[in-house]
């Protein structure tokens, strides 16, 4: 039925005597030119439905002349969407030929762009619309346009913002701070899977409010440092005793002003303005800026005195929008295609921020200063050098997941790891709250000071990514198919082996003593031995209890031929209990050995604990690559259920460069309850209807094979039907799971869309699907496309075709090196050239 198309395509009723120019009385400048060839298409393809009183959706061309400009632009925008996304004419109506469609699209686009009013242009700049650039055309080699990036401001990332604050205080080396008491990071990247840091975000009122507070605090610290330069900090008084940090050095120009009683000279004030500009904007103030700032500083000092007047100037520079945007405009004369190369300073920043959070290192700055950052080879040289540098960018992948009991994984190049964590979107696990009892009490939701179980899982996924990045061979395939994972592994292999060796030696020596009945004596007799083993943290205030705990712990691990985890479960702050999410046996919980020295201690139950692999990564059965990592599976699940649709959509969009329209607003996307059916069956019952299948065919067959993993990421062949009528028994433990009747899980699916007949087809399970995906050229290219978005901060355009082809070739010609991709992208025309498209 036509009526279901609520958003209707505008039909322009241009009759037989249709004029080529429709004019609008209220705005002569807003004339709508309709060339004859467009008129023909409109009449032939659109008028049947959109004409007269009964026009579909009440959209009538015969009224268009009466529309005001805003209303007309609104309709044209809607029309443009319908044509571009091919949702009009409806599928059951005759379709326009390709050239007719592009004729209409071109006409609509030029009409809207004339008023800078094309919503589609704006939309296509957002991450969700990246795949609307045709994949085949991009990699066809037929596009000969010269690549460029529009001249732009790109909001700094949260991590870069933090580094910039360090720079304001001129902190170097060890003095750089991990956090600042009075600074709130105003930037938060979106949560969704996929590249998130794009150049289309604008500063807003929220950012300003946070920055006003930040600027107050930063300027106060700058002034404090200037006022107390060279003073012994032990003699200083702090207005807030909890906030005693201040920068160790201050620009001499500030010290000069605050330390004199008389009014500063113009020269002294100009020096201070330059100093603040260099601290904040990393450049001297321009003549024009001096003309504005000097009167401000003069009048502020007149009103508030030297110190407070200076502080107000510092605040006003801190509130420059330029501070919060990376500026990339290009410099020099444009080339024949209207493109300008990044200036050497812009290039140095662009390269540094593409590879990490800190700004350019000294060598890069020097290269820019010496004019050695101009040609492609210059870019390549510097990028390769920085990729080989293991210290400059070294840092945590995500300080945000660090908490009291766990710290983020540290990498030599955290930003490269961040590309893959954003691409795979496994950090989404941190946002899915789970019912703990359904996990048998093993899952801990994120809470204050801890990222909980998903925090550990995300970190372990980060480690897998970094492991393969460091090896830099066949990176995409390895990440998609690896069977080797890190679990727990809080000590390197060598340290872990040393600990286990000591523990085994200790257990062998002490197991046959009277350690249970006379622990004090056993300790005394073996004191020297215990003291010699660093890993035996027994001696001290409660050594009897600690000794017993160790021995019981060793007894049910080493004593049963298993290797224990290299941290004892009764260690302070111990929170490792997530091995079951990899289908690995549990490890002892922190309370297991709590009562071992009590008289009424009844011994331990016979739980079988995990035989911990000290050397990692290690092989885990029924896992293949990051799509089977619990972090990814949880991220792409709901609170109580798996989410095969979202899992499938991820594969369609991220690996197959495909498109799935958003859920229409008329659809109430609910999976029906049915206590007798598996979740798959319930999903299929509601998505197999023709009108639903149109979209779901692109997702379900890819996501449903993953039903072999539950919403906690656990492998299963049977699905519990969690409904009261299927209850078999209630749990007997406080946080345990109830037991329900189960049904077998179906893992069948279908891969379509690789454009490779050897790969497309029915798949037996997710492992079969993953194997095929990992061999696909399209999948490889799709990952390259996302890498492009990550490093360029924008969607690719057709004109970026050569850049993408080069990056793809760099990957294949270098044995699947991701670093080769990075070097290729960061020395491409897309990266080096800017063009003013505004």
């Amino acid at each position: 039925m036509r009526q279901v198309y609520l958003v209707c395509f505008i039909t322009l009723l241009l009759g037989a005597s249709m004029p080529a120019l429709v004019s609008f009385a209220e705005d002569a400048s807003a004339r709508l030119l309709v060339p004859e060839h467009v008129q023909r298409v409109l009449k032939h393809r659109c008028m049947n439905c959109h004409e007269g009183e009964n026009a579909e959706g009440d959209v009538r061309l015969d009224k268009i002349a009466e529309l005001k400009l805003d209303a007309r632009l609104d309709l044209l925008n809607r029309a443009q969407d319908q044509i571009f996304f091919q949702t009009m004419p409806p599928a059951d109506a005759p379709q326009p030929a390709t050239d007719e469609r592009s004729m209409l699209a071109d006409w609509l686009q030029s009409g809207l762009r004339k008023h800078n009013a094309s919503n589609l242009d704006k939309k296509l700049r957002y991450p969700d619309f990246g795949n609307y650039v045709d994949h085949e055309t991009l990699f066809s080699g037929q596009i000969k346009d010269k690549p460029f990036t529009p001249a732009r401001r790109w909001l700094v990332s949260p991590q870069i913002f933090h580094e910039l604050v360090n720079d304001i205080f001129m902190l170097t080396g060890q003095s750089r701070q991990r956090s600042f008491y009075g600074v709130t990071n105003p930037f938060v990247l979106p949560d969704h899977s996929g590249v998130r840091d794009y150049d289309n975000t604008a500063l807003d009122g929220g950012h300003l409010l946070v920055m006003l507070n930040n600027a107050e605090w930063i300027s106060q610290k700058q002034i404090f440092s200037a006022v107390h330069a060279d003073k012994d900090r032990r003699t200083l008084e702090f207005s807030n005793p909890q906030d005693r940090w201040y920068p160790p050095i201050s620009p001499p120009a500030f010290v000069t002003i605050v330390s004199q009683k008389s009014r500063p000279t113009n020269q002294e004030m100009i020096a201070a303005i330059h100093a603040q500009s260099e601290c904040v904007l990393k450049r001297k103030a321009s003549v024009e800026e001096l003309d504005r700032y000097l009167p401000l500083l003069q009048s502020s000092i007149e009103l508030g005195g030297n110190t407070e007047g200076l502080r107000q100037m510092l605040v006003s520079v801190l509130l420059e929008s330029e501070f919060l945007y990376r500026q990339e405009f290009g410099a020099g004369e444009p080339d024949a295609y209207g493109r300008k190369k990044l200036s050497p300073v812009e290039a140095a920043q662009a390269i540094a921020y593409a590879l990490g959070d800190p700004g350019p290192d000294e060598e890069l700055q020097q290269a820019a200063f010496d004019g050695r950052l101009i040609a492609k080879d210059d870019y390549r040289r510097e990028v390769q050098r920085l990729l080989a540098n293991e210290t400059h960018f070294n840092g945590p992948v995500d300080p945000g997941i660090s908490g009291k009991n766990m710290q983020s994984h540290v990498s030599t190049h955290p930003k490269l790891v961040r590309f893959f964590r954003e691409f795979f979107g496994y950090t989404g696990a941190l946002k899915v709250f789970k019912d703990v009892t359904r996990s048998d009490g093993y899952y801990q939701n994120p809470a204050r000071g801890t990222a909980g179980t998903p925090g550990f899982l995300v970190k372990e996924a980060d480690r897998v990514v970094d492991w393969y990045l460091q090896r830099d061979e066949d990176v995409f395939r390895n990440l998609l198919t690896t069977e080797d994972f890190f679990v727990y592994h809080n000590k390197d292999n060598e340290t872990g082996q040393k600990i286990i060796a000591e523990w085994k030696e200790a257990y062998a020596r002490l197991k046959d003593t009277d350690w249970k009945t006379d622990p004090e004596r056993v300790i005394a007799e073996n004191l020297e031995f215990i003291q010699s083993k660093k890993s035996l943290n027994i001696l001290g205030g409660k050594q009897k209890r600690e000794f017993l705990r160790h021995m019981y712990f060793f007894g049910e691990t080493i004593g049963k031929g298993r290797t224990p985890f290299t941290t004892v479960s009764f260690a302070h702050g111990y929170t490792y209990n997530h091995s079951p999410f990899y289908n690995l046996p549990p490890t002892p919980n922190p309370f297991r050995y709590g009562d071992v020295e009590q008289k009424n201690f009844k011994g331990l139950d016979d739980t079988e604990f995990w035989d911990y692999p000290v050397e990692q990564p290690f092989r885990i059965t029924n896992r293949k690559g990051l799509l089977t990592h619990p972090a990814w599976l949880i991220a792409h699940s709901g609170n109580f259920q798996t989410d095969p649709i979202r899992r499938g959509r991820w594969i369609r969009e991220k690996l197959l460069a495909g498109r799935v329209p958003d859920v229409p607003i008329t659809v109430d996307a609910q999976v029906p309850d049915d206590p007798h059916k598996t979740f798959r069956e319930r999903v299929e019952s509601v998505t197999s209807k023709a009108e639903c299948w149109k979209c779901h065919q692109h997702m379900n067959p890819l996501g449903l094979p993953f039903e072999v993993f539950d919403d906690f990421g656990r492998y299963r062949l049977e699905e519990p039907l969690e409904s009261p009528e299927n209850l078999i028994s209630r749990t007997k433990t406080k946080y345990g799971s109830d037991t329900y009747r189960t049904r077998s899980v179906s893992t069948l699916g279908e891969l379509l869309g690789t454009e490779d007949s050897d790969l497309d087809g029915v798949v037996t399970d997710p492992f079969d699907l993953i194997d095929r995906l990992s061999q696909s050229e399209r999948v490889r290219q799709s990952i390259i496309r996302h890498a492009f978005r990550f490093f360029m901060g924008r969607n690719e355009m057709l004109s970026d075709s050569q850049t993408l082809i080069d990056a793809d070739e760099a990957y294949t010609e270098n044995g699947g090196s991701f670093k080769a991709v990075v070097v290729s992208l960061l020395s491409s025309d897309s990266f080096m050239y800017r063009k003013d498209v505004n």
């Binding site: 800078n116 704006k122 700049r125 529009p150 001249a151 732009r152 401001r153 909001l155 008491y181 009075g182 709130t184 990071n185 105003p186 938060v188 949560d191 289309n200 604008a202 500063l203 807003d204 009122g205 929220g206 950012h207 300003l208 409010l209 946070v210 006003l212 507070n213 807030n240 909890q242 906030d243 504005r292 401000l296 009048s299 502020s300 009103l303 508030g304 407070e308 007047g309 107000q312 605040v315 006003s316 509130l319 420059e320 929008s321 945007y325 945000g400 709250f433 019912d435 994120p446 809470a447 204050r448 609170n639 109580f640 498209v837 505004n838």
Partner: protein, 465 residues
Amino acid sequence: MISNRREFLTQSILGAGALSLSSAKLFADSSVSKPPTRFIFIHKGNGLPPHSLVPPSFSEEQMEAEKRKDSFAVDLDDHDLPEWMSPIAGHKNNLTILQGLSGKMCTTGHHTWCSSLGVFKANERLSSIKWATVDFELAQMFPSPFGHIEFACFPAGGGNSRGNINGIEKGFSARGPQQPNYAFGSPKVAMQELFKSVATDQQAQSQYQLQRKVLEFVATREAGLAERLTGTERPKVANYADAVQDIRKRNARVEAMGDVLRQHLPELNGKYLADDISTVDRQVGFTEVLLSTLISGMTNVVTFTVDELGTNYTGLPGIEGENVNQHDVGHGKPVRNFEATEVRKKIRHQHMTVIDTIVSRLKSVPEAGGTMFDNTMLFYFPDNGETHHSNGSEWPFLVLAGDNTRLDIGRRYIRLPGYGKPGHKTLGNWYTTILNAYGNPINHYGSLDVGLNIDQAGPIERFSA
């Protein structure tokens, strides 16, 4: 109080299905210029145990219903209030004790940040802020020269990120997604910032003029830059320039109220403006500033954190010299000779004294043929639910509302169906009810409780006036 409501409420206990609470619409359809509605949100830390709100004069039958968490409503006229509520006994006609709401979709436990006002799981990170908290939604609906204002007796650590209890710090409200609000941490800083345009102290005046100058400078600079830009680059600077301009406009609006502000300047002696101030004096000082901002018309919505779990309590009547650690109290530790439950009562009693001051003062200010309180709703509630280590199974509220309120809940003890029972209601339902009643048509405000298998979206229909 109108009579039909009173008559209706003569029933002592109503079943869940009978709780219709209908009555005539109370909102004054005044033909003269309509005064704004004002909202005051006062929240406390360490939980608010539901049993502490139960009138001691309840019959055995009522007590049993209460224990069973059955749904019922009772006219408060027939009952005594718990002793700790004695300061507000004179306002019983305006009082509602609302029990039975749940908030498991919030962060619970010790600290909850924006959870109780935003109905989402929040922590100290900006990324956890999902949307504007309910007080900000209401402030948008009832605009005022300054907009929303927040005061907080900050905790010394834990509940806020910095532990600076005298500054302007991230508060417990949120302006929008990932946008924290900033709260005034002391009466002194609140006075300085809110009334700086009419400050008589020369240093404060020059400070104000300096800030004014800088904002003007920044606004001109950024607007000038934006003017030179076109296309997609323009909004990147123009938005920012507009935001600076908005703050200047807000300041100008407040500045234009100079004469009115001078009339309503808070009368606070030096004790309340000191940096080293007891918790109780801090509350008293804030109360005066809060009243001045409302009575002068500077704002229509204020949020007041009277304490948080991490607030070290000093100056409590009867134990003035003690520095009461609320966490210890939460774990049952006595203070001097007072059991923890007694200390809790003292703290709540102090809160009621604050509320009595607010309500009485607003009742004394004439407005549109009545008083300012006629157009005011005050909510008192815990920031973390039912107890010290809460899980959100209950979220009790005291509501004090003037005669023009658009909710039909007044002068009643209302217990809604218990958690998970048919008809059970959540914090989200409650805020949706308020927002809907005052003109925001939102279908449901707040996150849903993923563990609740009932239809939980929408307002509490029975509260519609």
